[in-house]
């Protein structure tokens, strides 16, 4: 760090054992053009405030652990550079999630929603003896974008609907479900649609679109949600028609 400069970061602190509410504390950091916000947080933890809590792991925008709000915008701390904030910045925990301590949030809801949408191949009876399950580039292209999600939760922090209604399944979980719905090797679409069709499923989305804007991997959750709405509507029409047909058949049986 030959060309070191100083910058003021306001970091939200919260110690559940001591504080009744979070507060901002100012910290001065040393930085150069290669310093990321994660580097800055680690510098503070190592040199200034060892009790500062934040999550991180890979330092290369793959693990999705270090999501924080930087100047009110959801960002990955490892992928955001201090050089772009020459006048200082505020660092807060991800919005719309309960704060556990400092920059650490409780992601339990988010993880439960992902689990609820079964993001894995369902109903494929092929065994290893059958050989590889081939897929054409066109079939891959249908879901490839949506498979980029790293579960970082930035889209949840960007979604006002999730903020207003924490029961909403939210962008990432639905995107991951949709990714498997579009996979030619999967047969679990109807199973996932049962969850997606619910009140807190796709129809809670009002297409603000900010989720796609903040997604660090360009997974485009807003697109997945809109496509799921179309699937959900078609599924509803199909179920009504099927119900009508079944009624006619049962009436026919009676006569």
């Amino acid at each position: 760090m030959a060309d070191e400069k100083k910058l003021l970061l306001k970091i939200q602190r919260y110690n559940p054992e001591r504080d009744s509410a979070p507060y901002f504390a100012p910290y001065e950091i040393l930085w150069d053009d290669q310093t990321s916000f994660l580097d800055a947080l680690q510098y503070l933890k190592d040199n200034v405030c060892p009790d500062l809590s934040f999550r991180s792991s890979c330092r290369m925008a793959i693990c999705g652990s270090c999501g924080v709000m930087i100047d009110g915008v959801p960002k990955l701390a490892c992928k955001t550079f201090v050089r772009n904030y020459p006048h200082g910045a505020t660092v807060e925990p991800l919005a719309n999630f309960p704060v556990e301590r400092d920059l650490v949030v409780d992601l339990s809801h988010f993880l439960e929603y992902i689990e609820a949408l079964k993001p894995y191949v369902i109903g494929n009876t092929r065994s290893p003896a059958d050989g590889p399950n081939t897929q054409t580039p066109a079939q891959l292209a249908r879901y490839h974008k949506f498979s980029m999600c790293i579960n970082c939760g930035l889209c949840y922090a960007a979604c006002p609907q999730f903020g207003l209604n924490p029961a909403f399944l939210g962008p990432a979980a639905i995107t991951l479900g949709h990714r498997y719905n579009l996979d030619s090797r999967d047969y679990g679409k109807n199973e996932r649609l049962r969850t997606m069709n619910t009140e807190n499923g796709v129809w809670s989305c009002t297409f603000v679109g900010y989720c796609s804007e903040v997604c660090p991997k360009h997974a485009d959750p807003a697109a997945a949600l809109q496509q799921c709405k179309a699937d959900s509507a078609l599924n509803f029409v199909a179920s009504v028609l099927k119900c009508k047909k079944n009624k006619e058949v049962s009436h026919g049986d009676k006569t």
């Binding site: 559940p16 979070p22 309960p98 006002p160 903020g163 603000v208 697109a223 809109q226 496509q227």
Partner: protein, 119 residues
């Protein structure tokens, strides 16, 4: 041992949308629907009382409101067509062509409607 957890839940206020320019534009986009309601009411009036409608639309305030409704519908059309590709899982080049054709059809239909109303 009792837990020392005390998760802090930040309340979302009714003015959440004011904090971010993206949210502000979203609210502007959605508020276009108010003008759609206005035009619908005007059309209902035309349906049930054409003479009152003809007298009303000449009023300067109504002209201003209708002009605002035109701008709002243009903004809504622009944002709607910009967002259309998200709802379609198609290759990029096809999406660009679809949006172009949506504009062509909209402009052609609007020109035809204007022509018919002037005849």
């Amino acid at each position: 041992m009792a837990t020392k957890r005390k998760p802090y839940v930040r309340e979302v206020g009714c003015c959440w949308w004011k904090s971010n320019p993206y949210y502000r534009f979203y609210m502007l986009r959605e508020s276009c629907s108010v003008f759609t309601v206005w035009v619908s009411l005007l059309l209902l009036l035309f349906l049930f009382s054409p003479s009152s409608f003809a007298a009303l639309i000449r009023h300067p305030v109504i002209c201003l409101l209708n002009f605002a409704a035109l701008l709002a519908s243009l903004l809504h059309t622009k944002t709607w067509y910009d967002l259309t590709p998200k709802a379609l899982n198609l290759p990029e080049d096809k999406l660009a062509a679809i949006v172009k054709w949506l504009w062509v059809v909209t402009i052609a239909f609007s020109a035809l409607a204007l022509l018919l109303s002037l005849l």
